[in-house]
Amino acid sequence: MLISDIVPEVDGYAKRTEEDLRVAIVGFGKMGILHSSILNLLQPNCVRCVADSSRFITFGASRLFKGIRFYRNLGEMLEKEAPDLTYITTSAQSHYSIMSSLVDAHARSVFVEKPPVTNSSELESLVGKMSNGDTIMVGLQKRFALPFRHAKMLVTNKVIGDVQQVLAYERSGDITVPTKRFNSLARGVLLDLGIHLVDLLVWIFGAEKVEYCKGTKMQTAVDDYLEAALRTRDGVKICMDVTWSNPEYRFPETFIEARGSKGQLIVTEDYLKVKVSDPHEILSNKKDLLIYKPLYYQGFPPVNIADPEYTLEDMHFLSSVNSHTEPITSLRNVVKSMGLIDEMYAKMDMSIGQ
């Protein structure tokens, strides 16, 4: 297997980095700083301006990041700067109104962090407003983690035969103390973290229906833990759980185990493990495969901040804009994932737990 087989954007992004690129960041918190650092290393000095509503952030950051112009008003920044690309890295509640403003202002290339919106009706409204040629990509970076990309390729090529059952989880220890931060959003771990897992299950297996969904409040007034059963379009059952309140998980971890008619596959951000009954050409005529993360990322990607999938995601966005192609996590391509999340919330049986 060659890296270029599963990461075609390796070639595509480089053309763009030779151009004079102007990037704007909306929201200069944790994710804004992460993406702007990656972009500035992929193409030096491409981040030109930042809009953030916090006076504390804009004042402090403007003294430190001297090559960047800071604004507290998005409209003013768009008018004065006319950026080529705009990254939205604010809190989830504000994504819809900011994207609407950008679409109205004819900003044609937009990246928005996950979740893109809070529900499907907002998503449909935005997709309806977009013109041909507009690109809005969603930051669902798990699709850019190479083990998941590799797993998708193996499942699509039926290396484990027909998928018969899937077990999956997404767990983190991010919220282990009480917080009211998510009260106004009225949605919790499923929308914030579980969207990665749901999106992978839609992308890899074609998940499309919800059988049941149980949520539990632990640290917040919304879902901190949930378990659910989904069905794919072929009727395959998927059992999943999601939490952000498990202190054993220092970093978020995504786990998927698929059992098929010819073998099984386990994949996380860290490794891919495959065992099949007969040797397969895609497995170099072997019956087993075990690849850990370091073997996927050998001297690659060209920028290494946080997890490699963030850089690959940004390279993919640059590549898509450059080649005028639809990103794999475009707003249009995550409609099914958001629809499934809405259905899970509608069917969620909520309880209070520890």
């Binding site: 290393l41 030096p44 931060r181 850990y292 370091p294 050998q298 920028v303």
Partner: protein, 290 residues
């Protein structure tokens, strides 16, 4: 020739760049007594120092070790990584970034806050943050044995990406006044070298991954290998992640490190198993000091 053989702390604080499953298992074994035994075994194998993140469990470990084996604590060299970034990431998830920044500053001495605001120099905030984390360790460790404070990659990569030279200058001066060295930890060595070529301050130490796979070596394995040759003449290089997070074995790692033994100042190895870490340092020392 390599002169520092440093025990790393990743397995002590639940970090594995190979698999989080492994890290969770290791953390379950990580009682303070076990970790102290690992440090003792590392020293028996020839380790000359300990490099660690300013994680609360490391403070507990060093305090414990000082009561049990003070001569060992006094004999080792220390390279402390600050800030303990994951704690801030978790707080940002709960509070949001602006509130996190404000609450961090609010807990600093009033003189420092006023100096930061009145001087209109937010880079001083980095110094406040670093000092707050480092001081508890300086109360336990002999000052002359703290060889360097290393800026954690979470901050370093932002500094490199935006050329925030003032942050490096501010921290270098502060470390100098404190009587310790100052360095950067980075996974983007080639990008750091680009900044240095454009006139950025050269830190006293640079800690960076170096392994035969090229894992965590950006912009590429070839670029980092070339840059190491250049940078070694200007700073003290410390090679970390020599086992590519466990994807290669020690013999392969040594074979690769031999190419750089005249260029690197220090090398890091880590394990939760006393026997293994003793063996690792015996082999590393035997091969890289002759």
């Amino acid at each position: 020739m390599v002169s520092e053989f440093l025990l790393g702390d990743n397995p002590f604080i639940g970090v594995s760049h190979l698999a989080q499953e492994k890290a969770r298992e290791e953390r379950k074994d990580s009682l303070v007594q076990n970790k102290a035994r690992v440090i003792e075994a590392a020293a028996e194998g020839g380790a000359t120092g300990f490099t660690f993140t300013a994680h609360p469990t490391n403070l507990e470990l060093l305090a414990y070790l000082k009561t049990k084996n003070e001569p060992l604590v006094n004999s080792m060299n220390y390279y402390i990584l600050v800030p303990y970034a994951q704690a801030y990431v978790t707080k940002a998830n709960i509070e949001g970034t602006p509130r996190l920044m404000w609450s961090t500053l609010r807990n600093a001495p009033i003189v420092d806050i006023l100096a930061t605001i009145l001087s209109l120099r937010p880079e001083r905030a980095a110094q406040i943050l670093v000092r707050k984390e480092i001081l508890p360790y300086l109360k336990i460790l002999p000052r002359e044995k703290v060889k360097a404070v290393l800026l954690h990659e979470v901050i370093t990569e932002v500094v490199i990406a935006f050329g925030l030279n003032e942050v490096i200058e501010q921290l270098s001066c502060w470390a100098e006044r404190l009587g310790v060295g100052f360095g950067l930890e980075t996974r983007n060595l080639s990008h750091l070298c680009d900044r240095i070529r454009k006139g950025s301050l050269i830190p006293g130490y640079v800690m960076t991954p170096l392994n035969s796979l090229g894992y965590q070596m950006a912009a590429s394995k070839q670029a980092v290998e070339a840059d190491i040759e250049e940078l070694a003449t200007q700073t003290k290089l410390i090679a970390m992640n020599i086992l590519a997070s466990g994807a290669i074995d020690l013999d392969q790692a040594i074979s690769y490190a031999l190419n750089y033994k005249d260029l690197i100042h220090g090398i890091v190895s880590a394990s939760t198993k006393p026997a293994r870490i003793r063996e690792n340092f015996l082999k590393l020392k035997m091969n890289l000091t002759t």
